[in-house]
């Protein structure tokens, strides 16, 4: 890594930490709220700009498109999360999602920086990846994952604003357990079978419990306009993520057909992307059907977040590899 690139990546990391704490603080100091939110957004914009530059510099250093291993893809994910949030903040004038977006970006930075040095180094590509299709196939996928993440995060806030505090906490615990499984799977040698059970069990029971808890309404927390706003935002994120995911899956098929004469081979990661795609297709039809309450839809978007997590990081870290795995780092 060149020094320039290192400096830029570090700046992006530090500013996103800053923006996270400033956003969090803005919820505490009512009088200074507006100012703090301005500072937080400013820091996030800075993080976004320096990360953009860092990615470009990495591409120049490597003399190739800088999206070839997990570390690079995490940089892209953080970038897309920040960019997506800034777009939403611009269109909706929202402020609550900010700290969640910077937290997500931050976690991705941390995860990326914990990866072994070999991931940070710029290495030549394996022959299978030397193709212009990589440009076309991968970025839309990463950006769609980021949008689905934001959609799920907006779902959390929707639950809070509609007074479903208990359900929200249960959903948060669910996602944290899933993340734990992934972190353990990446950095420790815990048997992946247990981690699969942790991920799947937490997701399943957590989701069921969260649905059950929807009946518990904390009236004092209800903010109807807010709930409606975040419902709308969640839908918007998913409506943007869906075409990107579709495009990514289809171009993957075209690449495969070009390279070895078949566009679909039920490779595990491929199948998992299809699962995610089908789930969001179901979500779209739930919307179209108009019988599902916004709170239920918020939970569905959180289930989507879990599936996205599984597709993006889970298959690699929980030992389900297949053709697309980035490899093990232990």
């Amino acid at each position: 890594m060149s020094e320039m690139q290192m400096a830029l990546t570090n700046t992006a990391g530090v500013t996103s930490v800053m923006s996270f704490w400033v956003f969090v603080a803005s919820n505490g100091f009512k009088e200074k709220k507006d100012l703090l939110i301005k500072i937080g957004s400013g820091a996030l914009i800075m993080a976004f700009v320096s990360l953009t530059a860092a990615i470009i510099f990495r591409g120049i250093d490597a003399q190739r498109f800088p999206l070839a291993n997990l570390y690079e893809s995490l940089l892209w994910f953080a970038w897309a999360t920040m960019g997506g949030y800034l777009f939403l903040a611009q269109t909706y004038g929202i402020r609550q999602l900010g700290w969640l977006a910077s937290l997500t970006a931050l976690l991705m930075f941390l995860y990326g920086s914990w990866l072994p040095q070999s991931q940070h180094d710029i290495t030549p590509l394996v022959p299978a990846l030397v193709s212009y299709w990589r440009w076309v196939h991968v970025p839309p996928l990463i950006i769609s994952y980021a949008m689905f993440f934001l959609g799920g995060l907006a779902g959390f806030i929707q639950l809070y604003r509609s007074g479903r505090v208990a359900s929200m906490f249960s959903a948060i615990v669910t996602v944290l357990l899933a993340l734990l499984a992934i972190v353990l799977g990446t950095f420790t040698s815990v048997d992946t079978a247990w981690l699969q059970i942790l991920f799947a069990g937490a997701s399943f029971f957590g989701t069921v419990v969260s649905f059950k808890l929807l009946d518990r309404i904390n009236k004092s927390k209800i903010d109807l306009r807010g709930a409606e706003l975040y419902d709308d935002i969640s839908y918007r994120c998913i409506a943007i993520g869906m075409p990107l995911l579709t495009f990514g899956i289809i171009t993957g098929g075209l690449w495969a057909n070009h390279a070895w004469g078949t566009y679909w081979s039920w490779d595990p990661k491929e199948s998992m992307a299809l699962v995610t795609w089908l789930s969001y297709a179901a979500y779209i039809h739930l919307r179209v059907h108009r019988e599902c309450s916004p709170e239920k839809l918020a939970l569905v978007s959180i289930v989507g977040l879990l599936l996205t997590l599984m597709t993006y990081l889970g298959f690699n870290s929980l030992g389900l590899g297949g053709l697309h795995s980035y490899g093990k780092f232990k």
Binding site: R236, W260, T262, W266, V275, V288, H289, R290, F315
Partner: protein
């Protein structure tokens, strides 16, 4: 985009069957079930890809047996999965023709202008009193809307505007794509074939052992492909760099109709069949022992190939070769020797003498691995891909309707504005509210200072949803997308 399942009274049985098949609830259920099934398939190694051994290795013999019995180890060919896909197909065809495609007609149906009485029934509406009634009011609104990308129509004291009209075609375009995908995949499955055949130099690839689906009505080619030459190119390190085969297409009568050299990523295409170079090896070596020919099979051993020739109980002759064109090393091996002993090296046309025996290398026979496929549905599939991508892109476009009416009442004029937006409702409402407060400042009662919008504008979200759902005069433009 408002779907209510039709009333269930007074229906003929087939009518209710039709509605059942076209129900969106069923769609959501089937999609979720399909997603779960594919999830299982992604989790469990599939026999058809990784082989049975991998399943046993992953789960142990006992569990593997249970998984196999449940059909999970070959889930994409299981009757369960296939019938799920079949049901989704029926559901999608029914929905598309009964619900989705008919909606295209709505696009060309002109929307009515509305008066204040109807506007207040819209999901989102607001009204402001107007005192300075000058003719520029409507023009101001029209310009604002046009700038925002709306298609604006004005009449007298009314405005009707629409945004993202073609977003309403999203469902139609996506579903045409999905149906075409099914058609494309079906054409391929019924008429296409594929396979892999290792072919020796000078032999023919004849497609007889190709794989195809059970319901197959296709035809195998009457021509065959002859391997005229095949070679391997190495890096200086000895790693293979590229494989080449020169192929001739030979028709029924034995006439060569096409000759082409293929390599990895550079297939031969003839009459819709693609032939790919997919692997390469040396198959056998022909040697001459004191005038009599003997063919020995070569086995890959790491980077080398080796052939074995037992001489008696204990003695074995070993022939090893790295690549075509390099000399063959001849070893002898006995149990009491520590390592095989090199006896001699053979190159073409240079016989070697080993005691009473003369050995001569006649030829090395390479074998080329040819992968072939015929995918007649591919053009349809690509067409489908394009439609699906465009369709889901269109679904991201928010679709909005906006109405405005300036009504004269006894106590002055009131400006009614309202509308609906299926996605990005909040963005739409912010636009209308901002416009209302601007208009009130400019044309409203002459107060000291422009009032803050939130306070003076009456906003009635929600309340009207109930009215709208009951189906009154506003119904036509309520339930759509």
């Amino acid at each position: 985009m408002h779907i209510t399942d039709e009333p269930k009274t007074d229906q003929k049985p087939w009518q209710s069957l039709k509605n059942g098949l076209a129900s969106v609830k069923l769609t959501i259920f089937l999609m979720s079930l399909t997603a779960l099934t594919v999830l299982l398939g992604a989790w469990c190694p599939q026999e058809s890809q990784t082989g049975k051994d991998k399943v046993v290795e992953t789960f142990g013999a006992e569990s593997a047996k249970i998984l196999t019995q449940l059909g999970i180890t070959d889930i994409y060919h299981s009757p369960f999965f296939l019938s799920l896909i079949a049901m989704l197909t029926v559901n999608m065809i029914a929905c598309s023709f009964l619900r989705v495609f008919p909606r295209v007609k709505l696009l060309s149906k002109p929307l009515p202008f509305l008066t204040g009485k109807d506007i207040v029934k819209l999901p989102f509406n607001t009204s402001i009193p107007i005192t300075r009634n000058d003719s520029s009011l409507l023009a101001v609104v029209a310009v604002k809307l046009s700038k925002g990308g709306y298609n604006v129509k004005t009449s007298d004291q009314k405005i009707l505007a629409e945004y993202g009209k073609y977003g309403r075609l999203a469902a139609t375009v996506t579903h045409i794509g999905l149906l075409s995908l099914l058609v494309g995949v079906t054409i391929t499955s019924w008429t296409g074939f594929n396979g892999f055949q290792p072919v020796l130099l000078d032999n023919h690839l004849d497609f007889q052992e190709s794989e195809h689906s059970k319901l197959w009505v296709g035809k195998l080619p009457s021509w065959s492909v002859r391997v005229d030459a095949t070679k391997r190119e190495d890096y200086p390190t000895g790693e293979p760099k590229q494989w080449f085969s020169t192929l001739s297409v030979v028709d029924k009568t034995g006439k060569v109709v096409r000759t082409q050299e293929i390599s990895v990523n550079n297939p031969l295409t003839y009459e819709g069949v693609d032939i790919y170079q997919s692997s390469w090896g040396l198959d056998n070596v022909v040697l001459n022992f004191n005038g009599s020919e003997k063919r020995l099979d070569l086995r890959p051993m790491g980077k080398l190939y080796a052939a074995f020739l037992p001489l008696d109980q204990d003695t074995m002759m070993l022939f090893s070769i790295r690549a075509d064109g390099t000399p063959i090393k001849v070893f002898a091996k006995r149990p009491d020797w520590e390592a095989p002993r090199l006896l001699t090296q053979l190159t073409q046309n240079k016989p070697a003498r080993l005691g009473p025996v003369t050995i001569e290398l006649k030829k090395l026979v390479p074998i080329t691995g040819l992968q072939y496929k015929c995918d007649p549905g591919l053009p349809v599939t690509y067409f489908a891909f394009a439609f699906i991508i465009v369709g889901v892109l269109m679904a991201a476009i928010p679709h909005r309707h906006f109405w405005l009416s300036l009504d004269r009442n006894a106590d002055g004029n009131t400006l009614y504005m309202g509308g609906r937006s299926v996605k990005d409702k909040v963005g739409f409402e912010r636009l209308v509210k901002r416009m209302a407060s601007d208009l009130e400042a400019e044309f409203g009662p002459a107060t000291e200072k422009a009032p803050s919008s939130e306070l003076s504008v009456k906003v009635h979200p929600k309340q009207e949803l109930a009215t709208a759902a009951k189906g009154d005069s506003a119904k036509d433009f309520q339930g759509d997308n």
